[in-house]
């Protein structure tokens, strides 16, 4: 459990337009490891929804399977949630969105959940411009199954078992840009000042919004030299071969200015290089976003910020020309054509 929520709340907690405090946007207590980056992202989601004065019950939160996918229980306790199956959140979210276009949908996934088992569904959700905020809590490993490499782990990094990952990492943001995603952003779980506005922007976007958030796994991401490494635990693991010791860690935060770079020291002392887009960055140019992302990668850096947004995006329902009203609100009289029409159909079949 990462923190114990204080029972006492300051009576003057700020209120939003709806008269709600952040409390109305919180969920149940997290069961993730102390210091897990995923919890920071949950907190950022709470903050973003609070600041936007969203009605919590008008938000639906969906996820796949993984530590990351457990988080919907830890934010927006008054929203309906769906912890689905591994890698298949996009399809469940698609169905949900088709049923009711009027709600706000937040999809939570992990790097394993998205870049491996769920790759097929991820790319198709992008290409359909599903109106969904898609947050990847990217720790470069499979947290819940105890630390295997994920497809976003850097080439050359060492796995828990000591073998070197020989495979190229999948760059989710770059891929989304190629696929025609209408909103692509990257951030770091510990950078609230950047993450909260990005989530708010994504929530306001009319179409698919990807936020790939680097989120350290304090327990398993033990790949020395990688962008998400954590060595300390590994020594203890080697000794016992099981994960019976998880040290209590504190959350890593990194707040840095626009157009600047910062190097974050991870729990094990390894470094994560972040490069924040400058304030004048024009996010309407897909080609320069692809180029900047690629250049940063060559430098071994993670480029953060809103890389690209298409403000005139046409989302799925409008592409499909479905009713402006939520399909789940249609009455039987609008759905069943009735017996007279059926008898006409019969007569054609004689």
């Amino acid at each position: 459990m990462s923190y114990v929520r204080p029972k006492f709340r300051h009576p003057q907690l700020p209120k939003n337009k709806l008269g709600y405090t952040t409390r109305e946007y919180e969920g149940s207590l997290s069961t993730l490891c102390a210091g897990c980056g995923h919890d920071s992202i949950s907190t950022a989601i709470v903050q973003a929804c609070f600041e936007l004065s969203l009605e919590p019950h008008r938000v639906a939160k969906l996820s796949g399977i993984g530590c990351s996918s457990k988080t919907p229980a830890y934010f927006l306790g008054q929203s309906h949630g769906f912890n689905s199956v591994h890698g298949r959140m996009p399809s469940v979210a698609t169905g949900a969105y088709l049923a009711n276009r009027d709600l706000i949908y937040i999809g939570i996934s992990g790097d394993g959940d998205t870049a491996s088992i769920g790759m097929g569904q991820f790319v198709h959700a992008v290409r359909r411009n599903l109106n969904l905020v898609y947050i990847v809590m990217n720790n470069g490993c499979y947290g819940l199954t105890k630390g295997q490499d994920s497809a976003t782990a850097d080439v050359g990094s060492k796995s828990k078992a000591g073998s070197v990952n020989p495979f190229e990492a999948i760059d989710l943001a770059g891929m989304a840009l190629e696929l025609g995603a209408t909103f692509v952003a990257q951030s770091f779980s510990g950078d609230k000042t950047q993450l909260v506005p990005l989530i708010k922007a994504a929530l306001s976007h009319n179409g698919f919004a990807l936020i790939n958030v680097i989120s350290p796994c304090v327990t398993f991401n033990n790949n020395p030299g990688s962008t998400k490494s954590y060595d300390f635990v590994r020594e203890h693991m080697d000794a016992t071969a099981t994960m019976d010791f998880v040290p209590l860690q504190s959350v890593i935060s990194a707040e840095y200015g626009e157009g600047t770079k910062t190097v974050v020291t991870m729990h094990d002392g390894s470094k994560l290089a972040l490069n924040k887009l400058e304030a004048e960055w024009d996010p309407s140019d897909r080609v320069s976003a692809v180029r900047a992302l690629y250049n940063a990668r060559l430098e071994g850096e993670v480029l953060t910020g809103l890389l690209f947004v298409d403000s005139k995006s046409t989302e799925l329902h409008d592409i499909m020309q479905t009713s402006k009203r939520p399909l789940n609100s249609l009455h039987q009289s609008e759905l069943s054509p009735g017996n007279e029409k059926l008898q006409k159909i019969n007569s054609v079949l004689r």
């Binding site: 019950h57 929203s79 309906h80 949630g81 169905g95 009711n100 569904q121 009713s323 399909l327 759905l335």
Partner: protein, 595 residues
């Protein structure tokens, strides 16, 4: 031999024979004579042999019958087999543009050669028309030979080309070329011929897939997600076509959404997401798709989310044989997924039932909050079947099951998504956004208590699994009841069948001295099935798969003595015939008695 024979057309796939063959079958239907056409086609778009078998039966036997009385051959590839397949005394109608090899002739078959290609090449200039009208020409020849009424054909051609009137004249010309040639060269009519009757009443003729698609429109489906696979594709297409006609709002927008998904996993995922969010949603697939959907079906079972899945069954893996018919997904569908799972299955046997069961399946899925799988098959789905007309009761209201709205939530102190309030195993559910502060929960497959709160408590898990058994028992009272065919004198033997085995089973029953029988319509088996089975020493279970899957299900669910159930099977990819049933049962009737 009036109104009782089988005609088989041997065509090349992709040469436009389908509409000519359909014209032939439909004209017989229009003459008031029971008819049942069946496609036997390859997994191919152009070039391979394809057959169309039409059984004409005054008695109304609509199952497949072996023994071809008239073979029409426009495919040299399959000619040797086609001639071999003709019953003694039968006829072989072929394109005599090129002479037939001496050794192909059979003394017990009458060969009727028609220079179809030669005539069409002479009469039509467009190469496409030359090919297409060969087909219409043989229908013309047949109409002279077996006396199809000309006015019926003329009318059907007029209907077929409504809106494309300029195609009517060349079609009628091709028809006449066939008629004239047959009249000049052969003694018309043949002894095997048609006579107008009044035996089809107000019946319609259509495919099961089209009926399922229409049923989904009437049943209130607003979301459909699917991935192309023969023989289920035309379910989604029919839904799209009917809905595009019947479900457009005042702004010209669609009151439905249909998505061709990236695969079957996504298709069922979308269906689950939509149902969770309050839309009625369905998917249609075949065996390979059901295999892929297994994980999600388990989630829907455990998380108690309604879903409708139409499984149009076919033969096993690969391409080729799989586009033939079978009832071989029974155990796959009944117990699909990991953990302890069981699913509600419905077994339609006619397009009318495809329509009704699909429409009703949405009620059933929502009442029971679980997936409902409609077990159709290629024969039912893709072939035209004579059946009762569709009807709809305008007073009937959708039953959305146990749903709580905002007012209901106001009245209760604490909402428990998985609480068995009524002691029938069925809990109450809420849709997202139902209420600002009540009724929300996180859906999970397992690991939660009655209030949907996360827990890994073993007793909570067990309590839930036991409640699901209660729900399963309740389901037995919700599903459609079987149809019983009984004599009144006590009998020792009975037969049990379902789906497309029905037509042949009922025909076989006539030959077997009205053996008692039951047609299953659903799984779980209801009390009526149990009551029926205990009455007999032996129950013949008729099905179209190798392993007697329904038999296994009966033995498992009733914990019954396997010796009691005797399999009667066909699994060669063609619909089961009455003769196969009679042969297999007869063996037991003579030898099996003394035990």
């Amino acid at each position: 031999m009036v109104n009782d024979f089988v005609v088989r057309f041997a065509n090349v796939n992709g040469t436009g024979s389908a509409s000519a063959n359909y014209l032939f079958a439909k004209s017989i239907f229009r003459m008031g004579i029971p008819v049942s056409p069946k496609n036997i086609f390859p997994s191919n778009i152009q070039g391979l042999p394809t057959w169309y078998e039409v059984r004409v039966s005054e008695k109304g036997y609509l199952g497949r019958r072996e023994g071809i009385d008239i073979a029409v051959s426009v495919n040299p590839q399959s000619i040797v087999e086609d001639i071999k397949g003709i019953a003694p005394g039968g006829y072989f109608i072929y394109d005599s543009t090129k002479p037939l090899h001496e050794e192909l002739f059979r003394a017990d078959v009458t060969f009727l050669g028609i220079p179809m290609m030669e005539t069409c090449n002479r009469e039509f200039s467009d190469p496409r028309q030359r090919l297409l009208f060969k087909n219409v020409m043989y229908v013309g020849a047949l109409s002279a030979l077996i006396e199809i009424e000309y006015t019926v054909l003329e009318q059907l051609i007029g209907e077929q080309f409504k809106g494309k009137e300029k195609l009517i004249a060349p079609n009628l010309k091709a028809l006449q070329l066939g008629i004239d040639y047959a009249r000049e060269h052969f003694e018309c009519p043949l002894p095997m011929r048609l006579e107008r009757r009044d035996l089809v009443g107000n019946q319609i003729i259509t495919t099961g897939n089209s009926a399922c698609g229409l049923g989904a429109v009437y049943g209130g489906a607003t979301v459909a997600a699917w991935y192309p696979i023969t023989p289920s594709t035309s379910v989604a297409e029919a839904f799209d076509d009917y809905a595009s006609e019947l479900r457009i709002d005042s702004e010209g927008r669609k009151n439905f959404a249909i998505i061709q998904a990236e695969d079957e996993l996504a298709a069922i995922g979308m269906v689950i997401g939509a149902n969770w969010n309050g839309s009625r949603a369905f998917t249609a697939t075949s065996g390979p798709g059901v295999s892929l959907m297994n994980e999600f079906l388990g989630l829907a079972y455990f998380a108690e989310i309604p879903a409708v899945l139409i499984d149009v069954q076919r033969v096993g893996p690969s391409t080729g044989m799989p586009t033939r018919t079978q009832q071989s997904d029974i155990t796959l569908a009944a117990y699909a997924s990991h953990g302890d799972t069981k699913h509600v299955l419905l077994f339609p046997s006619t397009p009318t039932e495809c329509f009704e069961m699909t429409a009703k399946s949405f009620d059933l899925a929502e009442q029971l909050q679980t997936p409902v799988i409609i077990m159709s098959d290629l024969d039912l789905g893709m072939n035209d079947h004579m059946c009762d007309p569709f009807t709809w009761n305008d007073k009937y209201e959708y039953d959305r099951g146990k749903l709580l709205d905002a007012d209901d939530l106001e009245k209760i102190t604490r909402f428990g998504r998985y609480l068995d309030v009524d002691n029938d195993g069925i809990p109450y559910r809420t849709f997202p956004a139902v209420h600002p502060s009540k009724g929300a929960y996180v859906v999970r497959g397992t690991s939660r208590d009655e209030y949907a709160t996360y827990t890994e408590d073993s007793p909570a898990y067990k309590r839930n699994m036991d409640r699901l058994v209660r729900k399963w028992n309740t389901a037995k009272t919700y599903v459609p009841k079987p149809e019983v065919y009984q004599k009144h004198s006590p009998a020792r033997d009975a037969m049990l069948f379902f789906g497309t085995t029905t037509q042949s089973a009922l025909e076989a029953r006539d030959y077997l001295g009205s053996i008692d029988a039951m047609r299953l319509k659903s799984f779980p088996f209801c009390q009526e099935v149990a009551d029926f089975i205990v009455k007999y020493d032996r129950v013949f279970v008729l099905e179209q798969n190798r392993d007697g899957q329904m038999r296994s299900l009966l033995i498992t669910e009733f914990n019954a003595d396997p010796k009691k159930f005797i399999s009667v099977l066909n699994y060669d990819g063609l619909p089961i015939t009455a003769a196969q049933i009679v042969d297999q049962i007869s063996i037991h009737m003579t030898s099996g008695r003394k035990k």
